[in-house]
């Protein structure tokens, strides 16, 4: 009885009609959850691969080749100087002797061919590692090249250029696919909500006939759609998180990317899902109710 005297605002009515139609609500929420989980999985992959890719192409090492007349101690002090640059994580002086030893290791079974060398042909150098996420080409490389001690800055540019080009193509592709996926999921969700509204058109008509304003009729349905969409976004995020946890074996992929890094839920994903869901819910609710009310007058 007490409830009967209460105001029954739009939110109350939204929750009530969800409880009155549990089957409908569960169908709508499960549909929205699946749709949003698909977008979420896509976003997760794209965002994480982008991060991984960015690290590959930017956190790279530079080989700063020094002039022959630079002494090892000068080289070492140059390294100590460079390490204080903001974009630099590590800088280490590598003497020509150390470089030759390493080259020998790198040649492996063919190392024997170095035995015949008269003098060490390799130069002294400083190996510089940039902060991951920073592209040194524009700033660090020119600044290094201008130093008097430096003969040449060797970057892995040629290879990186190809990789970056590929990533640009893939990025554009991902954007296109993502856009379509986004539209598709908004359509899916909107359709579901519209169907659910349409299923209760008799109720809408009755409210209209007894003098409810359009907003009185519409707002609970839009709220219901919104609630369902937010619920679905939460469920989809949970689902993704659980799935990624299950799949995230500690396997290593080529190029030093770890699988567990790709299979991690980026914090943006739940937010985006809630946004997409809310948009679809509101759209579906508005369109659905609008359609029913318009039809009602025409009969």
């Amino acid at each position: 009885m007490s409830r009967r005297g209460a105001r029954q605002g739009a939110l109350y009515r939204a929750v009530r009609q969800m409880r009155e139609n549990p089957w409908l609500t569960s169908v709508a929420v499960s549909t929205l959850t699946v749709a949003l989980a698909i977008v979420g999985a896509y976003l997760t992959l794209v965002l994480n691969l982008d991060t991984a890719g960015r690290r590959l192409t930017t956190g790279a090492a530079l080989m700063v080749v020094l002039h022959d007349d630079v002494s090892p101690s000068d080289g070492a002090s140059l390294a100590r100087e460079i390490i204080h640059w903001p974009q630099v994580v590590r800088a280490r002086f590598v003497s020509r002797g150390e470089a030759l030893a390493r080259f020998r290791r790198q040649l492996g079974p063919h190392a024997g061919l170095l035995d015949g060398l008269g003098a060490n042909p390799l130069p002294n150098a400083v190996e510089v590692e940039l902060t991951p996420g920073i592209d040194g080409t524009e700033t660090v490389v020119p600044r290094l090249a201008k130093l008097v001690q430096v003969a040449e800055v060797v970057t892995s540019r040629p290879w990186l250029n190809r990789l970056e080009q590929a990533m640009t193509v893939m990025g554009r592709l991902a954007l296109a696919v993502g856009g379509l996926l986004f539209l598709g999921v908004v359509l899916l969700s909107t359709n579901t909500v519209r169907l659910a509204v349409y299923l209760r058109r008799d109720e809408l008509e009755i409210m209209d006939l007894v003098g409810a304003s359009t907003d009185y009729v519409r707002v609970p349905f839009v709220l219901e759609a919104l609630l369902q969409a937010l619920l679905a976004a939460g469920l989809a995020s949970l689902l993704l998180w659980a799935l990624l946890g299950l799949l995230g074996a500690p396997a290593e992929l080529p190029l030093g990317v770890r699988l567990s890094e790709i299979l991690r839920l980026p914090p943006q994903v739940p937010v985006v899902l809630a946004g997409v869901g809310a948009l679809a819910g509101v759209l579906g609710g508005m369109l659905g109710v609008g359609r029913v009310l318009r039809n009602q007058v025409r009969r």
């Binding site: 005297g5 109720e203 409210m207 006939l209 007894v210 003098g211 009185y216």
Partner: protein, 221 residues
């Protein structure tokens, strides 16, 4: 209160118009019967009065409002002042009897103790207070019709449109509902009752009767 001027209603795909050149006025506080056989156009005429449909030609005025020119926002406000007993009841199936009746008050912002009291009083008038908690879709035909009556009366509208309000009722209940309408009229409301039942006309003594036949008006002799 109500004025129809040369109203004609053509439905697409129908050879004959449902209403043809219908003109009449209903004075405030009048009690009017709309009589006629099946398919005469009674329901169609009432629908024009609460803006559920619009005439093909002619004008329909309710109070001061020309329904053909009423903006979409003003129609709900008009409907709150018009009580309608629909021929097919139009109850919300999953809602209980109390909420079906309360709906008419809630859409106008009603709430609180006064709402509960008014709904319960109205349910008592149609002898359904003991079914207040029953879902509308579990009611018998006659019970549903009485809920529809209660919902139309609960808001104390200035104009009451009753479409066959006793078609599903036994004589006792029917008489009781007609008495309710008469009381309502006595308290100042304008009442229009569409019916095919000559028995009803006899019951409500001196009321004016409009005869519809094939969409044309034949004023009571």
């Amino acid at each position: 209160m109500v004025r129809l001027h040369q109203v004609t209603k053509h439905f697409p795909g129908r050879a004959r118009p449902a209403l043809k050149d219908v003109s009449f006025r209903v004075a405030p506080r009048e009690f009017l019967f709309l009589n006629g056989p099946s398919g005469a156009g009674k329901t169609t005429l009432l629908r024009l009065l609460y803006g559920a449909d619009f005439p093909t030609s002619g004008t329909v005025t309710v109070g001061k409002a020309d329904l053909g020119r009423l903006s979409g926002r003003k129609l709900p406000r008009l409907r709150r002042r018009v009580g309608v007993i629909f021929q097919d009841f139009r109850l919300v199936p999953r809602r209980d009897v109390f909420e079906n009746v309360a709906l008419a008050l809630r859409v106008a912002g009603g709430r609180g103790k006064s709402l509960v009291e008014r709904v319960e009083k109205t349910l008592a008038m149609v002898e359904l207070l003991d079914k207040a908690d029953a879902r509308a879709d579990t009611l018998s035909g006659g019970e549903q019709q009485r809920v529809a009556v209660a919902r139309a009366l609960v808001g104390r509208p200035a104009l009451l449109l009753a479409d066959e309000p006793t078609g599903n009722l036994d004589p006792d209940n029917g008489r009781r509902v007609m008495q309710l309408l008469a009381d309502f009229h006595a308290r100042g409301a304008t009442v229009m009752v569409a019916t095919h039942d000559p028995g009803l006309l006899a019951q409500a003594g001196g009321a004016r009767v409009l005869h519809l036949r094939d969409g044309r008006l034949e004023e009571s002799p």
